[in-house]
């Protein structure tokens, strides 16, 4: 309101009180203010929907065993020891180690083997390139359950690797469709002049890739590595197929569910475990926000 009364002073000639122009300007301003209020109240309502689940999970995670059985929303006492209890549960550290092995080694292998493929698909001209690209997209869209039965028989019977995470890790040494797709989208944005200049200077293709393209594609490599890491971190189906019979090979995703089984009624400990599994993802996100958002955008919008 104070702003509308101040307005005429700024330019008294045009906005003399009572003229049609002042009226129009006033309605425009009022409309803008209403829009600001409307948009921000909607945003606050939406953030409640996105935030409250985290809040209630956390509040329950720090409740006492007795209180977790009640309908209370706010903890009477703050039992920070719940996190330590979960951490010290037999197996929990093994799940962490296995998850880090699966996600860490899997990511290094997938990015390392997908990079040359993505480079060839983005920068080489050869017959069958479109067909190759279509196969990458088809493989990316293929539900893992389609080929799981023969794959399991192969790893369990021929390779004798059931009960380990190796059947999940080894295939990543042979390129991963989504990683190839995402890296290619990034590499397309690198102008051809750079690779051509390197070629004229006498660089072989491998050296061009390693010395010229990789340094320029660092954000893309970081984004695809993050996506792959979290794919493994979140994977439930793979560990369920290959590792479920051997508790020493369980990962966090698979172990978390069995943790609930062992603590039927202890929602506080279950939620504390849930917080401990969610936390690393969220911490990493705050350090690598840009890479995440760029990666998501490139998968949906043409690069």
């Amino acid at each position: 309101m104070t702003r509308t009364t101040l307005a005429p002073l700024e330019n008294p000639r045009v906005t003399a009180p009572g003229t049609a122009a002042t009226e129009a300007r006033r309605t425009a301003r009022r409309r803008a203010a209403l829009e600001w209020i409307g948009v921000h109240s909607l945003a606050i309502a939406a953030s409640l929907f996105f935030l409250l689940p985290f809040v209630f999970v956390f509040l329950t995670a720090v409740m006492s065993d007795d209180q977790a059985l009640t309908r209370d929303l706010w903890p009477n006492t703050w039992e920070w020891g719940n996190f330590a209890d979960v951490w010290n549960t037999p197996g929990f550290l093994t799940w962490w180690r296995n998850t880090l092995l699966y996600a860490g080694l899997g990511t290094v292998l997938a990015v390392g083997s997908s990079l040359p493929v993505a480079y060839a698909l983005a920068k080489f001209r050869f017959r069958g390139r479109n067909l190759m690209m279509m196969l990458v997209i088809a493989a990316m869209m293929l539900p893992p359950q389609v080929v799981i039965v023969p794959m399991y028989l192969f790893w369990a019977r021929q390779m004798d690797l059931a009960g380990t995470l190796w059947p999940l890790i080894i295939p990543f040494a042979f390129g991963n469709a989504f990683t190839i797709f995402l890296l290619r989208q990034f590499l397309l944005t690198i102008p051809r002049e750079y690779t051509e200049a390197a070629r004229i200077d006498g660089c072989g293709e491998l050296r061009t890739l390693l010395k010229v393209v990789v340094p320029m594609a660092k954000p893309g490599i970081a984004a695809s590595a993050l996506f792959h890491f979290f794919y493994c971190w979140n994977d439930y189906f793979g560990p369920q197929i290959y590792a479920s019979e051997n508790p020493a090979a369980w990962t966090l995703s698979y172990g978390l569910e069995s943790f609930k089984g062992a603590h039927q009624t202890d929602w506080n400990l279950t939620m504390a475990a849930t917080v401990l599994v969610m936390a690393p993802v969220i911490v990493v996100f705050f350090f690598a926000q840009k890479a995440f958002v760029e990666g998501v955008t490139l998968t949906g919008v043409k690069g």
Partner: protein, 315 residues
């Protein structure tokens, strides 16, 4: 070809070898982890095989069993259809709405964007367990609050009529990826078009209908098709929700009625797992896997046909 000078031919051969070298990890992976198992799946679909004794030819028996006698196949397919219709369309509408909202926010846009995006990152198992707890009819915070404001709350994951809506709410919570994609495409709409529309006297709805929508329609289509493909693979959330809500102890060797309650959370990939890894009926599992393959490839082909704007195989 015979007129090509020898020097050029050698150069061509070198470049072909170089291309093959760069593609080799993927070519090997494609054959070993994609083509070979796919052919095996077709082979096993005509075999009686329990994974231990030698497979025997049974013709179309597995196919007849899956389509006529398996108690899980048709409910799973119906659930998938429900999820495609309701979950995918709500996700696209909600993602677009949140994407629009975020582009209109003037104060604190960064904070809101982070808040809206975070749930997308929550590991599916953790997110599902959190939601089974939040929507737990006994002590869950949601029903506590709903009762406090005088509403009669549903049984959520414990009621066959509410289990899929509960999964849908969970899917809407993790809308972050769609939000970012829609946000990026909304910011790409040329500003001049809005100005021109405004000069022509278009209201907010008309500007959305005639300027925004045509410009983002390829992205909407992308979201729909990838959403349908993701629904074909929908596995972890319904399985974990059913297990935790039914109170079945997780881990190996536990018998568990798939799709609790009343097969309402059963999806096609779960039927593959049930047949192949719980009942050791490899042949029938492969039949369901092939049905899944056919469905996924129909939508992928559709996605690749609409080449304009996204998922293009060309530059």
């Amino acid at each position: 070809m015979s007129t090509v000078p020898p020097g050029l031919r050698a150069k061509r051969r070198r470049s072909a070898l170089r291309t093959l070298g760069f593609l080799s990890p993927w070519l090997i992976g494609l054959c070993v982890f994609f083509l070979y198992p796919l052919v095996s799946t077709v082979y096993f679909s005509f075999m009686k095989y329990d994974g231990f004794t030698a497979p025997t030819w049974v013709g179309l028996k597995n196919w007849a069993y899956v389509f006529q006698d398996n108690p899980f196949f048709w409910p799973a397919l119906r659930n998938t259809l429900w999820l495609v219709l309701v979950m995918v369309s709500l996700r696209v509408l909600f993602g677009l709405g949140i994407g629009l909202l975020i582009t209109k926010i003037k104060t604190g846009a960064g904070v809101f964007r982070t808040l809206f995006y975070l749930p997308y990152l929550a590991p599916p198992v953790a997110a599902t367990m959190a939601f089974v707890f939040l929507l737990n009819p006994g002590t869950g915070p949601t029903n506590t609050i709903l009762e406090k404001v005088g509403l009669d709350p549903p049984q959520w994951f414990n009621d066959a009529a509410w289990s899929k809506p509960s999964l849908t709410i969970l899917a809407l919570w993790g809308i972050g990826d769609l939000m970012v994609i829609f946000m990026a495409s909304l910011l790409d709409v040329p500003k001049e078009q809005y100005e021109a529309a405004e000069l022509d006297g278009a209201g907010a709805w008309q500007r959305f209908r005639f300027v925004t929508l045509p410009s983002i329609s390829p992205i909407v289509l992308f979201a729909v098709v990838t959403g349908v493909i993701a629904t074909m693979q929908y596995y972890t959330e319904p399985l974990v929700a059913a297990k935790v809500a039914s109170g079945v102890i997780g881990g190996s060797g536990q018998q568990f009625e798939p799709g609790y309650p009343e097969k309402s959370t059963l999806t096609v990939p779960q039927v593959v797992y049930n047949l192949g890894f719980q009942r050791f009926d490899t042949g029938a599992a492969c039949v369901v896997a092939l049905v899944l393959f056919a469905l996924a490839m129909v939508f992928t082909a559709f996605l690749m046909r609409r080449r304009s704007g996204f998922m293009s195989a060309e530059d």
